[in-house]
Each structure stands twice: as structure tokens, then as C-alpha cells.
Symmetry: C2
Subunit: 339 residues, 2 copies
Amino acid sequence: MIRVAVDAMGGDHAPAEIVKGAVAAVKKSREIQVMLIGQKELVLRELEKYPYPKDQVELVQATEVIETGEPPVNAIRKKKDSSIVVGMNLVKAGEADAFVSAGSSGAILVGGQVIVGRLKGVERPPFGALIPTEKGVSLLLDCGANVDSRPSHLVQFARMGSIYMEHVIGINRPRVGIVNIGAEEEKGNALVKETFPLLKECTDIHFTGSIEAREIPHGGADVIVCEAFTGNVILKLYEGTGAVLVGMIKKGLMSSLRSKVGAVLIKPALKDTLKAFDATQYGGAPMLGLKGLVVKTHGSARAGEICNSVLQCLTFKEQQINEKIKESLDAKEQAQENP
Amino acid sequence: MIRVAVDAMGGDHAPAEIVKGAVAAVKKSREIQVMLIGQKELVLRELEKYPYPKDQVELVQATEVIETGEPPVNAIRKKKDSSIVVGMNLVKAGEADAFVSAGSSGAILVGGQVIVGRLKGVERPPFGALIPTEKGVSLLLDCGANVDSRPSHLVQFARMGSIYMEHVIGINRPRVGIVNIGAEEEKGNALVKETFPLLKECTDIHFTGSIEAREIPHGGADVIVCEAFTGNVILKLYEGTGAVLVGMIKKGLMSSLRSKVGAVLIKPALKDTLKAFDATQYGGAPMLGLKGLVVKTHGSARAGEICNSVLQCLTFKEQQINEKIKESLDAKEQAQENP
């Protein structure tokens, strides 16, 4: 049995879509217990719309809500009774195994580090994002937790990301690439040049060298390692470009009668294609290296993404990802002590 | 009259498409004289395919070719008779006003700085790229010339980029944005935090603050300033994502008979849409702050892009962009001396 605290108040479509997604998850798996965190009355009103296994859903009161625009550090400190703080405290106390939220990224990042806390040995818990590619999905990390990283942080990202992709997503021997501006080892900025040889030395990951940004949508690596500023730029540009292109194509299709007729005919095929390029089917973005699991979904998440994110927690727990991360970091530490 | 040296040997479709594009440019404007640099025999064979005004085209011999994979510094030093070195030497000697090449980016960057040389006062000549947006086109710089930039470099990029967008592309009071991972001033890495207040102080540019990568394809700023590592990642991801999405959509359209019929109907509309998102119609990417103009086109450039790139040199010269850059930097220097 795994207990997942779900932030019922976070995201553009809270609480309706969040509650709907949580109910869908418990219906799919008897092994999940969901704690819906939020203003009880509001949450209950949504919950009553569905039949659901009562023993798998619990309501937890949290009177406050952290808004997207609020300065995160302040919000976490001041709003003790917000759904994010209450949910993370449940994880900290061991009353929940995981926390899923579509709320403020900043607050989730701060809360993850301050409330849930880092696993021993983890220098900087990165924020990973699953991004769709031509071939499937890649994990991009760090994509927003800590800017101005050091080489040793990037090496930990590579290790933790590999464990995640292998055991949660099921990719055998995931290829690890470091984001660079050329394929050759001597290319790059100071950070990349320092990190490259360290990654080459890692025997426990499958490092394949530099990955140019152009190769990311082609699925050029399974674990894409970079510093958080770069990662955040990649993540947001990726989403922005996709949205603009699809929007322009749709608009273009409405430009003449001929193309309108064509649009009706291609609709099912186009829908399938765009679905393959839709990150939400893989669940949310995990923050790795914390004492519990914290998963951030898109602010725009609907029930489907919430459901997948909750189910993802089950795999995370079953596969003992945190135990594997600890082992990996311990092994590294021992190797350094007894070279 | 403006004299443009064109690298007839650089790019995936050299010399055929390069020569074709150069001929198209001189046919469009009597004010352009083109010098085609390359292996004379090969170039002449292409040139003879077209009728063209003989007084506007000149052949210049260059026996060597710098390949894309060659280490740039070495290539520029060793291959003295390559089309890139010969062309840049013509600019240096004042025998050409501009140099256009679809060849090795690395060699063009090194050659631009080492052979053509910087304008007095320019710290680091950036590599600008015109990128298509929902609204038109933006200039992204630096997108590959110098990694690990300092704040003062970014301020110069903003100044030079503004002059370029206003006078070459014709955008009145171009909006300048600095790439950041949040809209607020306190966000960002160390470089952005240091640069932000400096840009705010500039009275000669229209600084609009941070731009998140998501807003780039929406045309959120006309001049997009960033450090070269980030810029290169943006440029390549932008091109890669567009290519993959369009490829997936085209493949999707071939998946059923119904969608195939639809595809035929939407083809003209789709073509128009994708054309609007095609950077090649604006010409190449200028390297700013050099004593002459150096323009890099895509390696995959065809005649149309080459033609536009050559015509772009005319505007650059007519608008006296380099003189304006010098004035702008001089004014800044004087202001610092007599505050």
C-alpha cells in the first residue's frame, strides 16, 4: 500500500480536475491510498460527484492556498496551513509516501528542500521533467531547482536520473547526455568542460557524451543533464514552440474552404500525432533526491495527468528508487574513500 | 554600390545553390556586386547555367575548402587559400563590404574575430540569429560566438541588436528582453541578475525586462539577449523542435486513406503556415561589431536564403549600421567619462 498526498487546491483546474484524477487513480489500483489536501468543503463537493472506494480516499483539511505568483520562500514560511505545506509535512512525518501537486513550482521546490529535506549525500535535489520526443520520453534535469550548479551536482543528476529512467520509466541502460553546444569534448562553457570528464569516469551510468539541443526532440538521450538555468530554458522553449506551431497550423487550416474540409479529414490522425508529443501521459516531473517523493505536474494539468502522476508514485515506491539512490551515492562515497 | 564576397564552397548545397542565389541577388539589385569565392572551374560551371549581368559578378580563386568538422582555429590558420579565409581577407582589405557564407560556423566565428577584426570599443562580437516567431522575426544574440560572457558584453549585444533590428529589419523601437527563468527581476542566475540593472539604465534602448523561453516563439521581444551557451541551445532547440513536430505531423497524415486525402486538401494552407515559420526568408545571421559585415546562413541554405542574405548586406551598408554601432558605443564611453 502506498499513501499519496494530493494537493487538491493547486493548478488551473483545481479542485475539480485534481479530485477527478485522484479518484481515477484509486480506481485503477487497489494499492494506492490518496489523501486529498485542501479546503474540505470544496474538495468534498467535487468528490461526491463520483462513486469511489471510500477506504482509499481520505480528506485532509488545509485552509490556505499558495498562489502561483507568491514569492515561494515567504509563502512556505507564512502559510503553514496551505495545501502544499500540509502535504509536505505529511511526507516528512512519514504519514504519506509521496506528494503530488499542480501548484506553484517555486513553492514546491522550496518546500521540497526545506520541509521534506534531502536524502543524505544529495547535494542539490534537481527538478526533473519528462519531455516527449520522437522516440518516447526523456528526463531533463535539473530544469529549475538550483541555478549556477557545480560539476559534482551534475554528476549526481546523471546518477539519480539514470535510476529513475531505468526503474520508473523502464528504459534499459538509459543513455546519459550532457547538454552542449557541439558534439566534441573540447566544446562548451566552463561548467560543461569540467563536468564532461567526471561523467566519463562514472562506471555506473551509460554516458554517451554531449547532446546538442537540436537532438533533444529526436530523443538523442534518455537522461539529459544540464544546469538549471539551461534546463528551464529548454523546458519552456520546448513547450512554447510546440504550442505556437500547433496553434499556427490549426489557424492555417481554417484559412480556406478547401483546407477546412481537409482539416476535418485529418483530425483523427493529427490528434494521434499530437498525443504522442504530449508529456502529460507520462505523469508529472519528479524532484529527485528528497526523503520522500515530490511530483510536480503542469499547472494546466487535467484529471488524466493527475491520475498518471499518482500511479507513477506507486512504481517509484515499488522500485525503491530512494533506496537505489542512497546505494548509488553510498557506493560512490566508498569508492572515493577506498580508491 | 556594395561589394559582397560570397563563399561559393560552403554549405550542403555548394556551389550550385550558392551561385544560383548570388545570381538572383544581382538580378534583383543593380547596386550589388558579387564576388564568388571558390574553385574557379567548379564555380564557373554553375555560373554558366544562368544569364546574368557580367559587370556585377566576379570570380575569385580559392583552392581550399574548410570542412564543417574541422577544428576552426586550426583551419583558419592553416588553410590560407580557403574560400572563408580569402573572402574575409577581401573584407579586411576593404575590397569587399561584406562576406556571406553557409560554411563552418566555427571557422566563420574565428575568422570574423581574427581576420576581419572588431570595431573599436566592441568587447565581444556576438553572433546574431534571426528566428521566426508568431509575429514576425526576432534577433537572438549571442547565439554561439563567446561562451561565459560578462554583463558588459550582454549590454553591448542589446545595443547592437537594437540598431540592427531597427535599421535593417525595420522595427521601430525594438523591444529588448533578457532571457530569464522567470519574469521577476530577482529571478535568474548570477549573470542575469548582474546584467538586468545595467540594461535598465540604458536610455538608448527599449528594455522590457526578462523574457521567459516560452515567450520567444510568441514574439515576446524583438531583441533577445543572452549568453552564447544559452543562445546556442535556444537556436538549436528551436530548429530541432520545429523540424521534429512538422515531420511527425507529415508522417501522421500518411497514416490512413482518410488523412491522406485530407493532406492533399490542406497542403497549400500548411505550406503557407510553415513558410511564415521559416527563418530563411529573412536572410542569414549577422555577426555584429566587426569592421565589415559577416553573415552566416544555414548550412542547408538554398538559393533563396543566399539571395536574401546578399540583399540584406545592401540594407546594412545603406543604413550605415557599423557607423551607428560606433556612435552608440562612443556615446556610451563619453557618458562614462563625463557622467
